[in-house]
């Protein structure tokens, strides 16, 4: 994992300082004065050899200096930390919804392979996978927010309601902890559509992967043995087969997380959800390079972390791996 981390920082470094045609100006801001540009040049040692620059870059990253946004004047890391809980909340709820919908569908489709329900599921999951993330989000927003008006069009907070004290940063949790029903209900109605749209994007992938994993497992000898013991079909599928099928779904959950973060960028922007994704898009539109690089780094690093967690989960689920 360490070489990958080094590689990731190296690549972001290359993009931030080498690929950019004029790094000093990009980091200082397009409207900055010549003096500011030169100050930035000194600060990031842009005139020194590349390997030294990389050293300073990593040192800065580790000490919490991820650059300053030329648009807002705020340190990038501060912005990221401020927006992080919203994205976390969105991602967690989405993945739960997607898993609850997708895994049973995948299992069902595998068990009834080649029958019409299987074809239906395959088509539906392919459809949601192929649909651009903005299509379903915009359609839902149009239908539920503008035409039927049952859900708010965006945002995370209801400005008329008192917010609960911030303990976890996750609004739903904090509302529950504070016993604030109004805030909880507002939080849920605001969370509903973004989370569901994001879930729709990833659910297709979960279904497809669960299905193919289960198909593989159902072909195995031990499934036949389980049947021969006289166990009910339901026990055979949900205890013996699924447990083995889940190991590959877990490795995929990490892949899914990556997919989901990419989708979050679009969803957060459409629903004006104050997370890192929206921050990324706003930074792009403002040509704020430091902020965009900051989001790139935080997204990728969290994915590497999740991959590591998935490896651990994989070892827990499959005893054959534990010996390594």
């Amino acid at each position: 994992m360490i070489p990958v981390l080094v590689g990731v920082t190296l690549l972001t470094f290359m993009i931030s300082r080498v690929v950019v045609p004029n790094p000093a100006r990009a980091w200082a801001g397009l409207k900055a004065s010549q003096a500011t540009v030169e100050a930035i040049s000194m600060k990031y040692h842009l005139n020194e050899p590349l390997y030294l620059q990389y050293f300073y870059y990593v040192r800065d990253l580790l000490s919490g200096d991820w650059g300053v946004s030329p648009v807002s004047g705020q340190p990038v890391l501060d912005n990221l930390l401020a927006f992080f809980p919203a994205t976390l909340e969105l991602a967690l709820v989405s993945i739960v919804i997607a898993a609850i919908l997708g895994i049973p569908m995948g299992v069902y489709a595998a068990v009834h392979q080649d029958k019409s329900i299987d074809h239906g599921v395959r088509l539906f999951s392919l459809g949601t996978y192929c649909a651009p993330p903005f299509l379903m989000a915009l359609l839902l927003q149009l239908l539920l927010c503008y035409w039927l008006r049952i859900l708010p069009t965006g945002g995370r907070y209801d400005p008329f309601i008192q917010q609960p004290p911030k303990i976890t940063g996750l609004l739903v949790l904090d509302s529950i902890l504070a016993g604030n029903i109004q805030a909880l209900s507002a939080a849920l109605t605001h969370l509903a559509l973004p989370a569901f749209s994001l879930a729709l994007i990833t659910f297709g992938l979960i279904t497809r992967l669960t299905r193919s994993s289960m198909l593989e497992v159902l072909r195995q000898d031990y499934v036949r043995t389980a049947r021969s013991k006289g166990l009910s079909e339901r026990t055979v599928i949900f205890k013996h087969a699924l447990r083995n099928g889940m190991t590959s779904v877990v490795t995929v959950l990490a892949l899914l997380f990556a997919f989901m973060l990419s989708g979050a960028i679009v969803i957060e922007y459409i629903f004006n959800w104050p997370g890192i994704g929206r921050y990324a898009v706003q930074s792009i539109l403002a040509l704020d390079l430091p902020s965009v690089m900051g989001t790139t780094l935080v997204f990728t690093l969290s994915i590497v972390l999740v991959n590591l967690l998935a490896d651990i989960a994989y070892a827990v689920l499959d005893p054959r791996i534990r010996l390594e």
Partner: protein, 322 residues
């Protein structure tokens, strides 16, 4: 089993796997089922328990599989579960892939034991300590030296022989009336093979379970079976008790099989393989399916399929020579 016929519908054509099998297995008997690969013996074993995947496989009208008064051939797929485990149980050729890799041996045996309790008249569920004791008993039955340790192991941590013993323990834990053993020793090396066979023979004395032992190895049959049925191209062609079959094989195929075995007592003699090859299951030969390879072929062998008849007491054969 009477006139059991089963076919597989595939893209290449219909495979006639079983073409009228008549076979009996009595209580406390070990019946060996012998045949080359592709003769349908595994399919036969699987069809008793309804384990052949049903869309391609189809049991034809007129097939009867009578077990304790019930005709299993008439069961729908979901009705088989009641018979499996406690009525008839099965062990398979590859213990490595037949045991679930993510559960311990103890867990897998416990399942069978719990099932037995569920289906018996007692409605009370035994405590886990009682069950664990029974798991240990089951493992001791198959002569595993350290049952406590093995019960907590995962399949991949055991050797081939141990895995096979564990599978036998698991199959017997539900106390079935009959055990189908499909080539249980084929994947093991020769010394382990001998151990397992000896174990199964000893078990016969302790446990009241009849065994249908499927194999392609005549040597194994002589070790373990009381009676033998020889299968060829989806039908039984000869059936008798073990000694009789080896001394006086009646069917030319059986004779050919025996002649092709090397024997220690006759090392100088040349081995005589059987001429020809296994018949095509999609288009089996008309009449007696062995006729293309038979030294004693006559006119009627080409057109009329011989019936399995008892020509000597306890010795049946399906051949026009008799």
């Amino acid at each position: 089993m009477r006139n059991v016929r089963l076919e597989f519908n595939t893209e290449e054509g219909t495979i006639h796997a079983l073409r009228g099998v008549d076979l009996n297995v009595g209580r406390d008997e070990v019946v060996g089922l012998v045949g080359e690969s592709g003769c349908g013996k595994t399919v036969l074993g699987l069809s008793i328990l309804g384990l052949n995947p049903v869309p391609p496989a189809k049991l034809l009208e007129g097939s009867q599989i009578l077990f304790k008064g019930k005709d299993l051939a008439k069961l729908a797929t979901n009705e088989f579960a009641a018979v499996r485990g406690t009525g008839v149980s099965m062990i398979f050729q590859e213990p490595a892939t037949s045991l679930n890799p993510v559960f311990t041996i103890g867990d897998q045996i416990t399942e069978s034991i719990r099932l037995r309790y569920q289906r018996s008249e007692n409605t009370h569920t035994p405590s886990s300590s009682v069950i664990n004791e029974q798991v240990r008993e089951a493992l001791k039955l198959v002569k595993i030296a350290d049952p406590e340790r093995v019960a907590h192991r995962y399949p991949h941590e055991l050797s081939g022989g141990m895995k096979q013993r564990a599978m036998i323990a698991m199959a017997l834990a539900a106390k079935p009336s009959m055990l189908i053993a499909d080539e249980p020793t084929t994947a093991l090396d020769v010394t382990i093979q001998a151990q397992i066979l000896r174990l199964m023979r000893d078990l016969m004395n302790e446990v009241k379970t009849s065994i249908l032992f499927i194999t392609h190895d005549l040597g194994v049959i002589s070790e373990i079976a009381d009676r033998v049925a020889v299968m060829y191209a989806g039908r039984i062609v000869e059936e008798s008790n073990v000694g009789e079959l080896f001394k006086e094989p009646l069917h030319p195929y059986t004779a050919g099989l025996l002649a092709s075995l090397p024997r220690l007592s006759e090392l100088s003699k040349e081995i005589q393989p059987l001429a020809g090859s296994v018949p095509d299951a999609i288009n089996p030969p008309k009449g007696c399916s062995f006729h293309p390879r038979c030294k004693f072929v006559m006119d009627q062998c080409h057109t009329i399929q011989p019936e399995l008849k008892e020509v000597k007491p306890g010795h049946k054969v399906a051949c026009h020579l008799y």
